[in-house]
Every structure is written in C-alpha cells, then in structure tokens.
Symmetry: C2
Subunit: 327 residues, 2 copies
Amino acid sequence: MSVAGEFDLIARYFTRPAKRAPLGVGDDCALLAPAPGMQLAVSSDMLVEGRHFLSTVDPAKLGHKALAVNLSDLAACGAKPLAFTLALSLPTKDEAWLEGFSRGLFALADAHGCELVGGDTTRGPLNICITVFGEVPAGGALLRSGAKADDDVWVSGTLGDARLALEVFRGTLSLPAELFELARARMEQPTPRVALGLALRGIASAAVDISDGLVGDLEHVLRASGVGGRLDADAAADRLALVAHATGASAGLDREARRACALAGGDDYELAFTAPESARKAVEQAGHAANTPVTRIGRIEMEAGLRIVDAQGAPVVQRFASFDHFA
Amino acid sequence: MSVAGEFDLIARYFTRPAKRAPLGVGDDCALLAPAPGMQLAVSSDMLVEGRHFLSTVDPAKLGHKALAVNLSDLAACGAKPLAFTLALSLPTKDEAWLEGFSRGLFALADAHGCELVGGDTTRGPLNICITVFGEVPAGGALLRSGAKADDDVWVSGTLGDARLALEVFRGTLSLPAELFELARARMEQPTPRVALGLALRGIASAAVDISDGLVGDLEHVLRASGVGGRLDADAAADRLALVAHATGASAGLDREARRACALAGGDDYELAFTAPESARKAVEQAGHAANTPVTRIGRIEMEAGLRIVDAQGAPVVQRFASFDHFA
C-alpha cells in the first residue's frame, strides 16, 4: 500500500483521518476491528474505462458509481458498510478529475458511514479497484445458496433503465430528453440497496445484486441453491422497467425490447431475493422501512433451470444474452 | 464481485473451496471472521504492465510477485496472512497466461496459508489488484509511528538487487550471467518477510516495507514518528547490496552506484524497522528464528530529517531520487 513519489499529490484528495477504524490511510496496512460476534463481509470490483464507463463521464458520478457497485455487493449480503480501500491507476495527474472523483466518492461514502482506510495510486490506463468491508452478524449473511422450493422471487426498485441510457449513448434508441436524464442518472449513479439488504436480514432466504442482468444473476442463485424457478417476464417488463414502461409508446419500445431491458439489461444494482410465502408481509414491511419498492416476480421450484413465462403462463422465448433487439 | 459471462473460464483458474474463511469465492461477498481479540490488517496494491512489471515476465513469477508485494505490507505490520481478493483486468483470455499466473500465485499463497476468497475479472489493459487480509492482536500491530529517539535502525535481507536487474534490462548495466539471474530472481520473485514481521511483534518499535527505496520508505517512518535519524550509507551499500557487493569490481560498479542501489533502488520488499538499543539481542534472535538476516544501519534522533553519512560519519550527498548514475 504505497503512493509513488510523483503521485504524492493524489494522496491529498484521498487522505482523511480514520473515524472508526483503529488505523486508516498512511501505514502499510489499515486495521479493522469487527464488533464481537460480527463477521466481515468483503467484496472487490474493478472498473475499466471503455468497459464499465465512458471516458466522457462526469468524474464525480464515476466516484459515486465506483463505490456504489461495491456497496451493492454488501447490500446483497445484508452487511452494514464499514470501510473501503481504493486502488487507482491514472494516465495523468489531472487535478480537476481527482477533485470531482473524490467528491462523488466521499459523498456516497459519507452517506453510508463507510470510510476510506487505504489504497494505492499509480500511473497507467484508467482503472478503479475498490474493496469494500461490511459487518454482518455471524451466520446472518444473506447468501445466494439459501433459496428453497416454493419461495417467492422478489426484486427491488426498477430494472432496465441503465440499459436504455446505454442504448441511447450507442445511438440505437432515442428517448425524450427528460426520460433520458432519468435513465442516465440510473446508469451513472445507481443507488445501492443497502438499507433494504439490512432490513431483509432474517427474512430473505437468498439474495444477489443485479449487475449483469436479472436472468443471469437469478440463475446464480438457482445454481447455488440447487433449485429452479419460474419468472413472470411481464411482471418484470411491464411493472419494473421504469423508463421502458413510462415511454413504451413514445420511445417506440415494443414488448420484446421492454422484456429484454428488464430481464437482461445489466447495471441495475437492484436486489433479487427469495423469501418464503409466509414472509410476504415481512418483505413488504422491509421494503417500506427501507423506502425501496419491492415486487414479487416469480417462484422457486424443485426442477432445475429458470422458466420464463408471460402473464398467461406461456413460455417466453428470447435471446436475452445477446440482447439482439438493439445493435 | 462478479465474473462477466465471457470470462467464466477465468473462474476455473481461481475458484477453490474456502478452507478457513466462513465463505469464499462465488457469492456477492466473502466472509472473514478474525479470532477473538484479533484485528484485521488490510492492504491493497495495484500492479500495472509497463510500470510494475515487463510484458515479457513469466506469468508464474508475476503471480508470485503480485501477492508477494501485498504480503510484504502484512509483514511490515507484523500480521499473519489469512486471505486475499484478486481483481484482474486482462486484454485477452489467454489460457497459458492464466495457468501460469494462477500457479505462481497459489504457490506463494499456499506457502503462507493465505486463501483466495473473492475477486473480479474483466477485459481491459493488464492490471492486477490484490487486497490482502491478515490477523494481528489488537494493539499489537507494528506501525510506522512508533520510532523513538535513540532507537536503532535495522534492515532485513539485502538491498538493491532488484534495481540492478532492472538496469540490466534497461541496458545501462551488464552483469555476469549467474549474478544477473540472482538479481533477476530478487526482482521477479521477492520474498515477503512475513516470518520476520511476526517475530518482531513486541520487539520492534516501528516498521515499514521497502518498496520505493530504503531512504524514501524510512523517511515515512521518521515523519510518522515525529523524529529524525542517521543512516550509515556504507553499512547499507557495502554490507547489504548482495549483488552490488559481490560484483563491485567485475560489474564496474563504483561506490556511488552501490550506494544508490542500496539506498534508493526500490522493489526490495525488505523490512526497515526500529527497536530500542536494549532489544539488540532480541532483534538478532528474531532474525535467526525467521531465518532472515538483519543488519543495524542507523539510529533514530530527535532532530527531524534523515542524515546520510559514510563510515567516518561524514555527510553523503547524492541525488538518490533521480538515481542519475544510471540512465
């Protein structure tokens, strides 16, 4: 953990005194002390220019997003954010960029009481690697492996918005300006569902955060749990994709495009989770307490695999992976 | 923490069952549970091609080094390695590279009982970001801030070897083949001084690992401790730079070059540490127990700043930072 000589300036933007950690930025290691009976949840995500963000993105929004995608992993485990490390590779020492990036990063960090405890800066192609630490009661983490037959499948918030914004940037879609701004905000500044994850401790049987698309991430849960499931494509497409729904007509989005956005859009950072039917009221109360909409969109079944059906229960066939409606 | 679809193959090289961590690779987070009374030491380092390693490096050696530089941070804190996360950006899905890299990585990890608990893989310019976790008794970590006036300054192992190898690669120096191989091994596969760090718990007053060069890293200790110091340049140059010493004549290295290698070479991953004069015997026993040479090279003083002197105590003037003897 070191700051190279020529990058000393960078330290200025990222060095703040540790508040809760026994030791923060500036030594060889940071020290973390989970409270008695708590385990430490850890996750790392790496963001690369051109792949995870556009070179034109506002650095403050990028600072937000780089931490948000990591907090989303903590949320999916029901962990309370504590601290993070930041490793940053930068092509040039751009002070305006550093000011904006650190501002966006710390705004979100402060909102979640999550402190920067260490890191590394170096010269190289733009790359942001954050490792985040959260606290969860021993044995109380939400895992991917806990789904059981007859559990309900739920999802938080809305789906597909980030993908719509991406397609506008790609030129394959146009949206009315005010709706594009909504979608773009969802793409550039996703809201990690930390409060919901905490509220679902002891209620949800399994959880995952949706980064690659609902179907793909839900399949991780099914495989880890050794079960299968049934997903109502239209519950997802019609009720959840905020922008797709709002602009179905005006944006010229047909049902297939709405389904694709909702089911395989990617970059949503919502939670998909399962819970017993007996916990429906508790799930709704958790959503209410966390000020986060929750929607029931499917069911866990014994038979392996995910069956995607329409509102009438008929199979929906779609090449979600390639998302070939666009492009 | 996710593995993108096209990179699923990569997971094969890095997924092994967790042995000690409550939850390892494959969920949104890993879970770590430090033993009662222990704190978690955390460090992140990012390695970028062209800056931290050459594109021609053997991937197995790179796997070793990527983890070694992180273990060296744990060593400097006196922490026992527990686990690490790996975030990897790769330009192409090169199976031979992945096989070699993961082999070198796991060989060192296994030697230290340090298990991979999570990570991220993505496509992009080659970048390796490891975050490492170790355990240290609460209040027992070796810090940079504990040096006191009249403490001795010590260094482990040998210094400057990696820099000599680098200069051979740069074409500014030639070495006899067998000595070049020794220097190259020190550059490509540094030995993290984990056992020494553990043995120095309760003995050393401050410690740092030497990644940027002895003088620069020792100055971090002086500043953090609010003290100054005196360093015997020739104790460092003549006794410590293994290769420089062995080949002083045959490689045509003059005294200034040997000093520069030892004092500002960089990439050494030795420990510089301080301890009271009364602990000299204990330090030597710690070095013996850890099978690691330790050499006394200076003294902590009240007056701020680092004074570099020769064997006669006369000031040594040298532009270590620019290392302009080479290039």
